[in-house]
Amino acid sequence: MAAAKPKPIARLFAGHAGPVAVLGLALVALWYAGAVWLNADLQIDAFARAGTDWNFTDLVAGTWAQERPLLPAPHQVLAELWRTTVETGIASKRSLVFHGWVTLSSTLLGFAAGALLGILLAVGIVHVRVLEKSLMPWIIASQTIPILAVAPMVIVVLGAIGLKGLVPKSVISTYLCFFPVAIGMVKGLRAPDLLQLDLMRTYSASARQTFFYLRWPTSLPFLFAGLKVAISISLVGAIIAELPTGAQAGLGARLLAGSYYGQTIQIWSALVAAALMAALLVALMGAIERQVARLMGARS
């Protein structure tokens, strides 16, 4: 309002960057404290068995360096990430890059197929009345059903008819993806208001022209909102789809294998890798969205 110009530090904290950084650091601190808290019992047992004397510093250092801690410390997870990405050849079964790529490829394939399916379905629903009336209620209703629960069955059934590897996993991602895209796109294609549609009528524009000049451009923000949800849910689908295959490859397989053998550090590093991948994918969609908006002449 009428205040004087804020000082640089105050300005930093008035935006999002400062508070996010402070909260992030607080989370890391909490994580370290939590590691001490959760791993202390194990560590005390270990000291007792070894018969060594220990003080508080030893305890803290010990809880941050266990091989199978209940909660690994952040630096242990980072070290594991470094070891399995940079120091391991990417062709190796132990490389997180290898597993990440397996998950990423089925995520992207499923996403592409799902987005295309969603868009086509939305176009059909907006233009063909019987499609709208018969399909739309089921599409909405199916959103309330825990689709992910079907994943293991889809994998097994598709496996029984000879489909293995990338395709069945992508099928699950496709299935998950097409809902948000179709729903958002139907909303978007209907977004032009009556006035704009009437204008097209005064030009006696065909349905095709109305689609390409009006409906499609108006729907793009809705499409991207759907795509952003879809890409993150596609990743979740790919990870879950890797569970029933007997944990062969992929981030989901790493999670499962880690939980079988109590390799907590491995679980956490797979989890962090999945989170990073999700954040990057969503950021990428956001960047594409901004680029498209800029090409369409929106003000930044």
């Binding site: 309002m1 009428a2 205040a3 004087a4 110009k5």
Partner: protein
């Protein structure tokens, strides 16, 4: 002479923006006395709404002095000294009309029976008796704005601040509400401060017209009128009315003269 309700001297308000300071109000002097109907008129950007918001403590001045009932605007607000009517009705869609009108009374902790009596009284005053159970979205724009006036009156403040309350309504409804508002003012003897950009509205309603001009926002003329309190819309045809309207228009034009 009647007591001073609003007393402003050398008031200024400057917004700091990226492109340098904006002088929303500059060196404003104004006195509003009990029972007056004062209109602020001027083109957009002249600071008329800002001045009203400073009186209501919705905006803080950056220079000069202002007193409302002899107190600072904040103290006056905490004493609930005024009722405020916005450009939009700002009714809460989840409350029916009665509960919208009783909203300030609930906040001020009035017992229920009294609240309902007040709502009934003021809804009838604005000709909305019988609409208590309706929800805002079930009424027309003019009725909604009348409900918001009833809400402002419900806790019986002596001072009514109105920010272009009829700006969004069509002219026929606006004329009708102008007459009703004038009758209300006559009956209740409240002090009214009214922001508008319509010359006929300002001249018809006011006992004092404050003509304002933009960049910097300032007062360039104050016109007192003495039409009879019980006047009807027909006075708009009289020579005195047209003379005052002409003076307002001249003032607005002078404010613009050295602009373009």
């Amino acid at each position: 002479m009647a007591a001073k309700v609003v007393d402003i001297a050398g008031l200024s308000l400057t917004f700091e923006t990226k492109d340098g300071p904006v002088y929303a109000l500059s060196n404003v002097d104004l006195t509003i006395r009990r029972g007056e109907f004062v209109s602020f008129i001027g083109p957009s950007g002249c600071g008329k709404t800002t001045l009203l918001r400073v009186i209501a403590d919705l905006e803080k001045s950056t220079g000069g002095s202002i007193a409302v009932n002899g107190l600072s605007p904040e103290e006056a607000r905490l004493q609930r000294a005024y009722g405020y009517v916005f450009q939009a009705p700002a009714l809460y869609p989840w409350r029916n009309i009665e509960r919208n009108v009783t909203l300030p009374l609930e906040i001020m902790g009035m017992p229920k029976a009294e609240r309902q009596a007040r709502a009934k009284k003021y809804l009838e005053l604005v000709n909305l008796g019988g609409f208590e159970r309706k929800f805002p979205w079930q009424l027309s724009g003019g009725m909604q704005q009348r409900a918001s006036i009833a809400r402002a009156l419900s806790f019986e403040p002596d001072l009514l601040l109105m920010d272009e309350p009829f700006g969004a309504l069509d002219e026929i409804v606006r004329d009708h509400l102008n007459e009703q508002l004038l009758r209300l003012w006559d009956k209740t003897e409240k002090t009214v401060v009214f922001v508008t950009h319509s010359i006929p509205e300002a001249v018809f309603l006011s006992s004092k017209i404050v003509v304002m001009s933009p960049r910097p926002g300032r007062i360039i003329d104050v016109i007192e009128t003495d039409f009879p309190r019980g006047r009807g819309l027909d006075i708009r045809e009289t020579p005195e009315f047209l003379k005052i309207a002409h003076r307002v228009r001249e003032g607005l034009r002078a404010g613009h003269a050295y602009e373009d």
